[in-house]
Symmetry: C2
Subunit: 136 residues, 2 copies
DNA sequence: TATAGTGTACCATCTGACTAGCACACTTTG
DNA sequence: CAAAGTGTGCTAGTCAGATGGTACACTATA
């Protein structure tokens, strides 16, 4: 497993860690019964506090993704549906799109904005706040 | 202009606001000389503290995106390059990709993870921390 | 039955994001 | 000149993320 965390994105580290684990499960990189890194070892390698790892693991347990076994470790729970194939296919689609846009000359910042904008346009159900203003 | 902020994403509101403004400029929705909403009015409509809007505006000014005129308002500065056409083209590409993946049955959460994973795979230059662990 | 390795549970502390409220200075408009 | 609307500046406080450290409880293994 390889986890990549972005310190300066504003997104809490424990949330990023959770996302990484979920993604690994979705792609099949982590399978049912696999043991996750130890809290202490992961904290050490990611140069973060063990408590932060604990928080991520506990939330993942609460979401039913992992199982914490006192004294032995953290393990991937049986996932309801194996979406590995679908996710990998999706990854391919996104990959080609990102590659194409990179060649067009978009910066990573622009890419993120375009993507986030598209998501929020396509699915306005979430916790959004709208503002319709004119020229004040 | 329409701004959409996500309260529960973990990303600071002032950063989200900045992104929205930048995106609006990139797409051409906001043009040179256009006046942005008043600090107070924007804060009121977005139901946030004026200080938070101030912070976003000041950072945007620092980045050269807007110009704050004491006593009159905030205005879009002349942008170095008009990337409107490029960005709109990119938006079309991303739009079709997102649509396709939505039809495949991906949730918004999965979509975000796949995208973020792709970005970090494609451009590992940033402030990333790697972990290569095995089964501990 | 030891012992090492694991998760669990606290507590104190620091930092940044955000809120809350007020007074002040400048510009526009009448 | 006066009033309304604007950005500016400041102080104080709340909250969540993250750190740092310690002690404890459980499990696997020799």
């Amino acid at each position: 497993m390889i986890f990549r965390l972005n310190q300066s994105s504003g997104v809490p580290l424990y949330l990023q860690l959770m996302e990484q684990v979920k993604h690994a499960v979705e792609t099949g990189a982590l399978r049912e019964g696999d043991q996750l890194p130890t809290i202490r070892s992961l904290a050490e390698e990611l140069v973060m506090n063990p408590n932060t790892v604990v928080r991520a693991y506990r939330e993942l347990e609460h979401e039913g993704v992992v199982e914490l076994r006192h004294g032995s470790g953290a393990f991937i729970k049986e996932s309801a549906a194996d979406r590995g194939r679908l996710i990998r296919r999706a990854q391919a689609v996104v990959h080609s799109a990102v590659e194409r846009l990179t060649l067009l000359g978009l910066t990573e910042e622009e890419l993120r904005r375009v993507f986030e904008n598209e998501i929020s346009q396509a699915r306005p159900e979430g916790q959004w706040r709208k503002l319709s203003g004119g020229k004040p």
